[in-house]
């Protein structure tokens, strides 16, 4: 048997040369296109998110001018070749402001997703493993969850000055309960798994169980949840800025641009519409990505809201 394999191997190699010419290109195309076909939501959402990240990163090189430069003689110009998206009532270029606004949006959504995930992970793990703390932590989370997230963020922002850091903190606090509950539910269901029982029986210490058995299983649901947190954070940030409780007016954020266009929107609707389109498209992209990831990774624990 083994002799036969050895003797036929050279024949196979001799017969092989035709295959590599044909196979690799087909395989590679099947890889990218096949993935896009199998998961259109991830592909479209991911591409749009990537585009927005690139716009945010390269905002200074995309034909923008200083987004805070005032030009009193060129106020409220309609969109034209000079002002692609028009200018606002202080003569600032809206195209530049919208592109720079992508930076604030990007900073806020990634910071909130990261911080809320980390905090939620820690709280959820403690709640799931330290039994006496579970009741207390979950009552506190229930209480925080009964305050509508936007109101909670508004209440926190009312206490502090409007700054990007404070906006991130306020939205993170509003999002933590949901992530904590998710992690806790993952922990509680994993604790009942035979392999965790086996690990405990084998004398594995708790930190090791968390590291080896719990954390890897939280990755999929946490990734999906983080995209929803991202989308939620963007909307809350825009709302906070829009009602005057968010980032200071000197920083161009999409919510701020819309807030400034509010008074004029019936005569100069483009001031409101351009940031609105960017905001909606980005949230849509993140949501598509989240839905696609949820379907692909199939974490049963994640629920929207």
């Amino acid at each position: 048997m083994t002799d036969a394999t050895i003797t036929t191997a050279p024949d196979l190699i001799a017969a092989a040369p035709e295959l590599p010419d044909v196979l690799p290109p087909v395989k590679r195309r099947g890889g990218v296109l096949g993935f896009a076909r199998r998961h259109p939501a991830i592909a479209i959402g991911g591409a749009l998110v990537l585009a927005m990240v690139l716009i945010a990163l390269f905002a200074p090189y995309l034909g923008t001018v200083d987004p805070t430069a005032l030009a009193p003689t060129r106020r409220t110009r309609e969109p034209s070749a000079a002002f692609w998206f028009g200018s606002d009532m202080l003569g600032r270029d809206i195209y530049s402001r919208v592109l720079y606004g992508a930076r604030i949006s990007l900073t806020v959504r990634f910071s909130v997703a990261l911080l809320a995930s980390l905090a939620g992970l820690v709280i959820g793990l403690v709640s799931g493993f330290v039994r006496w703390s579970d009741g207390i932590i979950m009552r506190v989370m229930d209480g925080m969850m009964s305050i509508p997230p936007i109101l909670l963020a508004i209440a926190l922002m009312a206490l502090t000055r409007g700054s990007v850091g404070n906006v991130i903190t306020a939205i993170t606090i509003a999002e933590i309960p949901r992530v904590s509950r998710l992690v806790r539910s993952v922990v509680l269901s994993l604790r009942e798994q035979p392999y965790v029982d086996a690990a405990i029986a084998a004398g594995t210490r708790t930190p090791m169980i968390i590291l080896r058995h719990i954390l890897p299983n939280t990755v999929a649901p946490m990734t999906v949840q983080a995209t929803y947190v991202c989308a939620g954070a963007m909307i809350i940030e825009a709302i906070l800025s829009f009602i005057g409780a968010g980032t200071p007016p000197t920083i161009p954020s999409w919510g701020n641009i819309m807030a400034e266009g509010r008074a004029l929107w019936q005569v100069k609707p483009y001031i409101v519409f351009f940031p609105a389109i960017f905001l909606s498209l980005t949230v849509l992209a993140v949501n598509l990505l989240g839905d696609g990831l949820r379907d692909a990774l199939d974490p049963r624990f994640v629920k929207r809201l």
Partner: protein, 313 residues
Amino acid sequence: MLSYIIRRIVATVPVMVVVALFVFSLLYIAPGDPAAVIAGDQATPDDVARIRMSLGLDRPFLIRFGEWFWQILHGDLGTSIFTNLPVAALIAQRAEPTLSLMAVTLTLAVCVAVPIGVVAAWRADTLIDRVIMAFAVLGFSVPVFVVGYLLAYVFALELDWLPVQGYTPISEGLWPWFQNLILPAVALGCVYIALIARITRATMLEVLQQDYIRTARAKGVGQTGILFVHALKNAAVPIVTVIGIGVALLIGGAVVTETVFAIPGIGRLTVDAILRRDYPVIQGIVLMFSFLYVLVNLAIDLLYTVLDPRIRY
């Protein structure tokens, strides 16, 4: 049954206390010393200390919280720093537009979302289903104020079918009242419709797999009867639960919608209070809305036994 209701009501008490504690801490750590404000610019530190003592501001956190909570239970939400009026009265003045908006939105959302969710489940994986679900994702993604401006631009400014902004009290007639609420309600309802439609579809898909649906079909029940009587009844619990959870979206969205459509409700009161840093007002609004939210979800919990007689406690 009665013991369940009592237990469920008692269980909301700790939640409300946590909410109250959280909201109270907000005011506690809020910048600015009320005693210094009352004492005025010419006051000596001794005067400020005396006023602080007379107001009881020097006492421990928990004692002050207890007294404050006692006042809340008696309907006293404190006094606005800016207008010097009781917060409860300020909220009551502004309650009608906000409650109207929320009621119209809720009705509209349920009437639209449940049927389209049912249709999407019935025609799962067809074009209709795809279109409905695409709209649901869109509804989640386009923020309420963007939808609001878009609707106002198209239906009020361009087509001139509906009023652009404002609010007419219900006492001035049902139609003028309703006319002013259509656009805000649709704008506010988008997310809510998306949420309810998705859960309706998901639950209905599960229910339609059940044996009793096949039995109903075998004994000749029509398609509408199967969908809306046999299936929807059994899908009611998750749908109603999500309707309750979604009230949080309504509350948060109302603040923004009122700003877009210039509706003089609690949302506008909130925005004004933020700009004036009127903490007692913000505190009162957050507290009131949170209690409302807890009570709505308590009511829904109690509804479960009515919706699904199999649920016994």
